[in-house]
Amino acid sequence: MKLKLDKKDVENFLKGLIEGYDLYAPAQLTEGVSVFKKIDRPEEVNLTQPVTQKPAKEAFFPQSEVMFRYEEAGNRGQVISAEQTKRDRILLGARPCDIEAISIIEKVFTGEDYTDVYFLEKRKKTTIIGLGCNHPLSTCFCSSTGGGPFHRAGSDLFFTDLGEAYFVELLTEKGTAFRENKFFKEADPKDLALLKELEDKAFQKVDGSVPVEGIEKRLDLMIESPFWDSIHEKCIGCGVCTFLCPTCHCFDMTDEAVNLKGQRVRNWDSCLFPIYSLETSGHNPRPTGRERTRQRLMHKFNYFPKNFGRVACVGCGRCILYCPVQFDIREALLYASARRAKGLKGKSR
């Protein structure tokens, strides 16, 4: 069944979601800066920014999360569980790249050897409403990494902005549960035609030529390549690309304690920080930007495919857009694939 949601009904639709669920959706923190956050009022939701600054992974893997608390009890210690994820959740307005990234992170957090309850609880309780990309940016290259602006895998429901309404597709069991939602109406054949048109147009816009295929094998031979000597030069070693990356999932755990009371917290960490790999002895196996930049790229395009069968990049372009010095991952991939980077230079793409 093909459905749609009229724009004039969106506010009430959102109200319904907020009442029944914990709703996570993109919201502006200031003009032009959006993140996924828990929504309290419908007007907070902003579905217009093609790529939010922070990715949707935050709904499952927050930047900072309390794992448990502890305190003195009598002459012993006592551990107190952190708040559980009680209500069902909705993640609304995540783009196909971010949703693909969630399934990538899921491979790590729900692997054979270990299961991360914090991630899994939230994942199980969440229904994902994806949003198609009518206007992909010139930095988007999802079609190069196995996705696409209307890639539906991972979404339970999928929305497409038709102008006056959202086209609504129910894709999974979790999605079909919304069939009776009173704001969904039957779509016309012309809505379907418009959807097709938008989809084709968007697909043509996205760069599908970034050489990702076969990258794992090429990098196998490159661990000591002089390539790394030059590629890292302009990197200043901040954490922008890793923190804003939808697939980066490294974290660090610390105890925040005052006197006899404290909490264990996990926070996002970045392989580009010198202290990330600093050992207790004082030795740092990745002492310079060369090794750290190499780690970032090797993890995404070599180690991850070896361990989990696909590259840990979804082509969202955030690392390109927000890098303070324009380190362009497409450039790195082009170099690594032994094609000349010249094709990129000076072009606005």
Binding site: L29, T30, E31, G32, V33, P50, Q53, K54, Q63, S64, H135, L137, S138, T139, S230, E233, K234, I236, G237, C238, G239, V240, F243, L244, D252, T254, E256, V265, N267, S270, F273, P274, I275, G289, I320, L321, Y322, P324, V325, Q326, D328, R330, E331, L344, K345, G346, K347, S348, R349
Partner: protein, 314 residues
């Protein structure tokens, strides 16, 4: 013209082996931007560009390349950072050779993006105009309406102490009377100031792009990274964010050139320069000292003079 001269000079320096490396700017993949480029051969000098999008302070790279003889492309503010670093005796063996370019003030790409609807795919400067194109639009904007606030209030556009100067020295005047961001901040009550500061810092990711983009942030170990003792927690609590941002700003007192590279580096558009510029103003008022102007004057916060202002000691 300036760009051509810049390329020629860089080429000459590399050909005569006066420097091992020239660090400058080059065009790259995004409009309204340039990228830092590292040139080792005379032929490579052709990659250098000069325009209003040369937004990084390249002095930040000097720490990484301190073993090489570096020719550094600098604007007025960047040169001041190098002078401040020299005062701190950072590069005793290989002081960088400064290729100074008289700066025309830089264009704030975020401001330009907000002025148009849709993605900007192409942008060029043409005299006083900025021609900006996207898929369905083409506009020409007045360049001067889209300058960084740190650039609007800048008076030192001619690089001091440059070994090579490209462009004619310009009169030391600013476009505005006071730094617009400092001015705006000072008009607020102390409650409003705190609220503003908290709102801005609440978006912080602790990615430390502001720290890494700054030439003056070169501590071997930043206090936020030190775990023995632990000065600060790693999460995003308002007190930790405030702590980081206050210490970062205060550590710049009497050292900041006001280039604004920290603010440009921030992916979350957090305003930062109102704090550092305010501190610069205080240092100027109290000690008559401006960062990177007098190459011999001792930095006021690293020295003691019995004549120093002491009213704050009650």
């Amino acid at each position: 013209m300036i760009q051509q001269k810049l390329r020629e000079k860089a080429k000459e320096l590399l050909a005569k082996k006066e420097v091992d490396l020239v660090i400058g700017f080059s065009d790259w993949t995004l409009p309204l931007r340039t990228t830092p480029v590292f040139i080792r051969t005379p032929e490579g000098a052709e990659r250098l560009v000069w325009n209003s999008f040369c937004e990084n302070n390249l002095a930040a790279y000097l720490h990484k390349f301190s073993r090489l003889k570096v020719g550094l492309v600098v604007k007025g503010c960047d040169a001041r950072s190098v002078i401040a670093l020299n005062l701190e005796k950072r590069f005793p063996n290989h002081p960088p050779l400064l290729i100074g370019v008289v700066c025309q003030r830089l264009v704030d790409r975020k401001k330009v993006k907000k002025a148009v609807k849709g993605e900007i795919l192409h942008a060029v400067e043409q005299g006083d105009l900025l021609l900006v194109k996207g898929e369905n639009f083409e506009v020409s904007l007045k360049r001067d309406d889209f300058l960084y606030s740190s650039c609007r209030s800048c008076i030192h556009r001619t690089p001091h102490q440059a070994h090579i100067l490209i462009g004619d020295p310009v009169e030391e005047v600013s476009l505005v009377e006071a730094h617009p961001d400092v001015d705006e901040f000072e008009r607020k009550s102390s409650e409003e100031r705190w609220k503003f500061f908290e709102k801005e810092t609440s978006r912080c990711l602790r990615c430390y792009a502001c720290r890494e983009a700054c030439p003056m942030c070169y501590c071997g170990e930043c206090f936020v990274d030190n775990s023995r003792p632990k000065w600060i927690e790693k999460s995003l609590s308002p007190s930790d964010l405030a702590f980081y941002h206050i210490v970062r700003a205060y550590h710049q007192t009497g050292r900041c050139s006001g280039c604004g590279a920290c603010e440009r580096a921030c992916p979350m558009d957090i305003r930062l320069t109102y704090l550092t510029q305010k501190l610069n103003q205080e240092v100027k008022d109290l000690y008559g000292f401006e960062t990177g102007i007098q190459p011999e004057a001792a930095p006021p916060l690293s020295t003691f003079d019995p004549e120093d202002h002491q009213e704050f000691i009650k």
